[in-house]
Amino acid sequence: EADIYQTPRYLVIGTGKKITLECSQTMGHDKMYWYQQDPGMELHLIHYSYGVNSTEKGDLSSESTVSRIRTEHFPLTLESARPSHTSQYLCASSEYSVVQPQHFGDGTRLSIL
C-alpha cells in the first residue's frame, strides 16, 4: 500500500470559501504532484514540485496554488472556490527518476455549490 494520504476525502462547500487540500507522504520522495480529474476521465497535471521550496505549474492552467515547505507535505489551496473548481484532486509522489512509478493518494472529491 502506498503511504500517501489526502484529506479530506470529500468536501462540499459554498462559493467564495478558501479551501486547502492536504497531501502528505511518508516515503521521503522528492517529487510530488497534483492532478485534476473529473470522475472516470483523464488526468490533468496542475502542479508539481521537485523538492522543498520548489513548485511548478503543470499542463493544465489552474487557479489553485501550492507550497512545499516540508518534503512530506504538499498542500493545494484555492483562495476563492467557484463551481468550476468542482472535480477530483489527486496527489502523487515519486522518487526523482524517470523509471520509478508515481504513488497516488485516494483523492479529494471537491464539490462547490
Partner: protein, 115 residues
C-alpha cells in the same frame, strides 16, 4: 514529443475470458512505459512498467504487458478476467526535457468484466 494513445474508451469482457487493453506510444529515445489501474473512488495504483529487457513484463494482480517495438505498442493483458478487474486503466510515458520525470497519461480505458 512523448505521447501515448489508448484507442478504446471501453472494453467489455466476460469473466474467465482473456482480456487486452491497448496502448500505443510515440517517444524519442528509449521507451519507458507504465500501466496504472484506478478502482472506483480510489487513486491510481501502479501495475507494471517496461524499462528494458524482456518484452513480456509481469505485474500485479496477474496482469502482464507485451512491449512491441515494431508496432510501438504496450498492450496490457490478463489470461483470465475477474469481475474485480473492472476498473479504469491508464497507460503512461515519462516526459523528457525540462519537466523530466513527469508522466503523460493516456485518456484511460474503462474495463468492464461481466459474470
Amino acid at each position: 514529443a512523448q505521447s501515448v494513445a489508448q484507442p478504446e474508451d471501453q472494453v467489455n469482457v466476460a469473466e474467465g475470458n482473456p482480456l487486452t487493453v491497448k496502448c500505443t506510444y510515440s517517444v524519442s529515445g528509449n521507451p519507458y512505459l507504465f500501466w496504472y489501474v484506478q478502482y472506483p473512488n480510489r487513486g491510481l495504483q501502479f501495475l507494471l512498467k517496461y524499462i528494458t529487457g524482456d518484452n513480456l513484463v509481469k505485474g500485479s494482480y496477474g496482469f502482464e504487458a507485451e512491449f512491441n517495438k515494431s508496432q510501438t505498442s504496450f498492450h496490457l493483458k490478463k489470461p483470465s478476467a475477474l469481475v474485480s478487474d473492472s476498473a479504469l486503466y491508464f497507460c503512461a510515458v515519462p516526459t523528457r526535457g525540462g519537466s523530466q520525470g513527469n508522466l503523460i497519461f493516456g485518456k484511460g480505458t474503462k474495463l468492464s468484466v461481466k459474470p
